[in-house]
Amino acid sequence: MSDTLLWYTTRGAGAVSLVLLTAVVVLGILSALRVQAAGWPRFLTTGLHRNLALMTLVFLALHIITAVVDPFTHLGWLTAVVPFSSSYRTLWLGLGTIAFELLLAIVVTSLARGLIGHAAWRMVHWLTYASWPVAVIHGIGTGTDTLSAWLLVITVACVVAVIAAIGLRLTARPRDPLKEPRTTFQAAVQRPETR
């Protein structure tokens, strides 16, 4: 396989992984907000969130494998699992390793949730929040393409999407499905004059 092909694939797969991870984060936030519409029940949001998380891992694997196999990069397999063990752009690449491992952790614990219990799973899921910003920084710091238009546009779009989703999360109050029936019932049994 051509060296340059590996190199282009690494970069392409890296960008695609970032976009997928961004979608996963946004869908996760939308899940918490319990958004739904006609034809889009809540399990669709969580289902897509999970499917894309797995997909992210697959494309991350592609990104990592092509990077390590590429003779030009002089990266050993160790750099994929031990953070900050590469000589090339040690810090930025190390962050990538961390982001990858956080993602691996959530996928593995999700698949084994029955064994580890819900509380442990939740804790790992909270840690996963860190993987997105770490991945963004890894992309900016490691990449040779950072200032090229195409990746700049993609990175900015991803950051905007997540910031918008966070903004929505902070401002929108989660729907309480009991609110309406509860208020209706209370109105029926309220007799303030008896007090």
Partner: protein
């Protein structure tokens, strides 16, 4: 089975099909994007050829077919319960 129940079951099935289509679509788009972005990244480095841009990587199957049963089985109904105050078969035809 009344039409209400049937509608809900069909809606659920439709949503599942939509999930599968979106997942597949995302996988295809992602694969294609690796190729496209790889090519784009190639063209931004001066001096390189762009002839080998078609991605020949094998696509990994990402179908996870999560059969997500609704969370705890409670509250899947969205139709309001019809309040029938004389719901019992024990009809009082008169009191004393």
């Amino acid at each position: 089975m009344d039409s209400n129940t049937q509608d809900r079951i069909q809606a659920r099935d439709a949503a599942f099909r939509l999930l599968n289509r979106l997942t597949t679509g995302a996988a295809v788009a992602a694969l294609a994007s690796v190729g496209v972005l790889g090519a784009v990244s190639a063209s931004t480095i001066p001096g390189t050829t762009t002839s080998q841009t078609a991605s020949t990587t094998t696509s990994a199957s990402t179908s996870t077919s999560t059969s997500s049963a609704s969370s705890s089985g409670l509250g899947s109904s969205t139709t309001p319960v019809k309040s029938s105050s004389s719901g019992s078969g024990v009809v009082v035809s008169g009191g004393s």
